[in-house]
């Protein structure tokens, strides 16, 4: 019997059966459609992510901290990659032989290493900052649980010579002192990242996108001259050692541009190895420590008196009998000089002469001069811990204060402030801001403090200090006309003047057209010799001679040997 003639076919079926079947199929189909819609549209992101995770990787692009160079491009500070080895102790199940190998490569004690690997922590640092080649060799051993990480280490080839200028960075590559801190924002690099596709062998085959562009740290060119810095460092160090001084500082400034060519503080430290560092070594004395400058302030008093027309260059001032009583206090000259011209007051450094000039002027004008020379307020070079020194408001001054301030007591300054103030004499009476970085473009417009004529007159007085009959024949520089002023100040201890001294010398050269200003300060020379003319002036002379030669400054005086010391020796200044 044929199928088509089956009697079952002709049997009528209830219509609902086919409807149910149709409905069933429709529901299944809708479910399928819904699912695919869900996967394609709603759940799409998650799935795509999972897929990409199989072949895409996000890579960190490290950025290096900027380099610091001196004005001639000599490297002063730079970062170079190193690796650190760390371990996950739970994963690091090593054979004794493997531990021995690792210890040998890292030059560590086997017991030390075992102790670290037995640690309870999730993460132990085994050795930091090893050369990358060594880290690669260790990675080639494929030890379980031992990993390496890229880090940067900062090197300072100049070591202790440039320590205070540069400062240093911490383990996290952030600046902590000096220029490293002052210019941290510029030096700092920002790591970037990018998304790539890697193939089976781990090689990058396609760049998908750059998530963040890396920002390399900017390189900084300092105004510092490496040669002059070294010259300043060795000479100051020699002097501090010779006179058994507690500390010392020297600043070299280019009078034409305001650039700081050298800055040295002693005692110093090695920034490459900072173990056992003490606070005294870290102090950037030239900027953060104030001292009473003593006689180095006298030229300013004389300049103001000239400026106000109270005296002329050759006005005679009676300094006999070598002391002067103001109120119930008396100020002294150690030697009696009798009648002196204004120029000789500076040359012989007479306290009485300076005080007499000061008392002829209103207190307010003296305060204004000190203020416009930059005393009493920080220079804002951006160095950490910069201070401004002490300059009391003029309406609190007594006549005795005004008299002592005229020769540098009752006022405190930092060495770099003092050096900058002398710029008014080195230039034609104007002051320009100091800069730590190499200056390019035209020199900034100065702020006039004295007239050009006053500046020239004071400059020739400063020259007399260095010549016969002055307090600092040892500051003489062969081949150049030099001007400067000595300072020898008692140190204040607990509000009273102690038998300790600060010897200083600030000078400029060549006097015909000054190019450099050097300020030297030696704290507590303790061999019995403490005059600025004996302790600080020779440092000035040697550094100035070397620096002028380095810079190729033409001579402005005949090259003859140092003048014979006049009978009776050089004049001792007053304190």
């Amino acid at each position: 019997m044929k199928f088509s003639s089956s009697p079952l076919l002709s049997q009528p079926l209830p219509i609902w059966r086919s409807r149910v079947l149709q409905l069933g199929l429709l529901v299944c189909f809708m479910a399928l459609l819904g699912r695919s819609l869900y996967l394609q549209c709603i759940h799409n992101d998650f799935l795509r992510e999972k897929g990409e995770a199989r072949y895409e990787r996000v890579l960190e692009i490290p950025a290096t901290r900027g380099r610091i160079t001196d004005r001639h491009g000599q490297m002063l500070a730079m970062s170079t990659p190193v690796k650190s080895i760390w371990a996950i102790p739970d994963d690091a199940q090593l054979q004794p032989a493997q531990v021995r190998d690792l210890a040998r490569m890292l030059e560590m004690d086997v017991r030390d290493l075992n102790r670290k690997l037995a640690s309870e922590k999730d993460f132990v640092s085994i050795k930091r900052q090893i050369p990358p080649e060594l880290a690669d060799q260790i990675a080639a051993l494929k030890l379980p649980g031992i990993h390496s990480r890229l880090e940067y280490r900062r090197y300072y080839p100049g070591g202790d010579v440039t320590a205070h200028m540069l400062g240093f960075t911490g383990m996290d590559d952030m600046g902590q002192e000096g220029v490293e801190l002052a210019m941290n924002a510029a030096l700092l690099g920002k790591a970037g990242s990018r998304r790539v596709i890697k193939d089976r062998r781990g090689e990058i085959v396609e760049d998908v996108e750059s998530i963040r562009q890396p920002m390399e740290g900017r390189d900084i060119t300092l105004a510092l001259d490496d040669k002059i810095q070294y010259l300043a460092y060795t000479n100051l160090q020699q002097t501090v050692a010779d006179f058994k001084a507690k500390a010392g500082g020297i600043v070299v400034i280019d009078a034409k541009t305001g650039e700081v060519l050298a800055l040295v503080n002693l005692p110093t430290y090695n920034p490459n190895n900072r173990q056992g560092l003490v606070g005294a070594q870290l102090r950037n004395r030239a900027l953060t420590d104030t001292f009473e400058p003593g006689s180095t302030m006298k030229p300013f008093t004389a300049a103001l008196a000239l400026e106000q027309g109270k005296v002329r260059y050759d006005t005679m001032i009676q300094t006999a009998p070598g002391r002067m009583t103001i109120g119930n206090a008396t100020i002294h000259d150690a030697h009696m000089h009798g009648m002196l011209t204004v120029a000789q007051v500076i040359q012989k450094s007479s306290n009485v002469g300076a005080a007499k000039m000061a008392l002829s002027m209103p207190a307010q004008s003296m305060w204004q001069m000190f203020d416009s020379l930059g005393f009493g307020s920080p220079l804002k070079l951006g160095f950490p811990g910069e201070v401004g020194g002490r300059l009391r408001p003029w309406n609190k001054w007594q006549p005795i204060d005004q008299a002592t301030m005229s020769y540098g007591h009752g006022i405190s300054v930092t060495l770099i402030q003092l050096a900058r103030a002398y710029m008014a004499f080195a230039r034609d009476g104007d002051l320009i801001p100091l800069t730590l970085t190499k200056a390019d473009g035209p020199a900034p417009v100065g702020k006039q403090v004295f007239s050009a004529q006053t500046a020239h007159e004071v400059r020739s007085m400063l020259e007399m200090v260095v010549n016969d009959g002055g307090t600092a024949p040892k500051a003489f520089v062969p081949g150049y006309r030099v001007g400067g002023k000595t300072g020898t100040a008692h140190k204040l201890e607990g509000g009273a003047y102690a038998n300790k001294y600060v010897a200083s010398f600030v000078g400029l050269a060549p006097a015909s057209d000054p190019r450099l200003i050097i300020a030297v300060m030696v704290d507590e020379p303790s061999t019995g010799i403490y005059y600025g003319g004996d302790v600080a002036a020779p440092v000035f002379s040697r550094v100035m001679a070397g620096a002028l030669r380095t810079l190729g400054v033409p001579h402005d005086a005949p090259l003859h040997p140092a003048p014979a010391v006049a009978d009776g020796g050089p004049v001792k200044e007053e304190m």
């Binding site: 002063l76 085959v205 140092a562």
Partner: protein
């Protein structure tokens, strides 16, 4: 007629597909090469830095002075032995 056109088009499509595969492969190879060169550039940069550092260390003033004074017996001439040549002023 139309079957010949169709087969020609199929052939063309096939060739296009294959050339896409080939050029993609080539692009990846070139990219790998570029990556390699870039990482070489980076490592050369690092090496340059290290060499600069080394140079700075060798040219350290303290070292140069020590060698000049001790090994080469050099000294600073006294002022009266220096002859200054007059040059044009800058």
């Amino acid at each position: 007629m139309s079957s010949r056109l169709n087969s020609a088009l199929v052939l063309l499509a096939l060739m296009c597909a294959l050339s896409i595969v080939a050029s993609n492969h080539r692009a990846r190879k070139l990219f790998i090469e570029l990556e390699r060169e870039q990482s070489r550039m980076h490592s050369l940069d690092v090496e340059w830095g290290q060499l600069q550092l080394e140079q700075s260390t060798w040219a350290n003033h303290a070292r140069v002075e020590k060698i000049a004074r001790e090994k080469l017996q050099m000294k600073t001439p006294p002022a009266n032995q220096i002859v200054s040549l007059e040059g044009r002023k800058p």
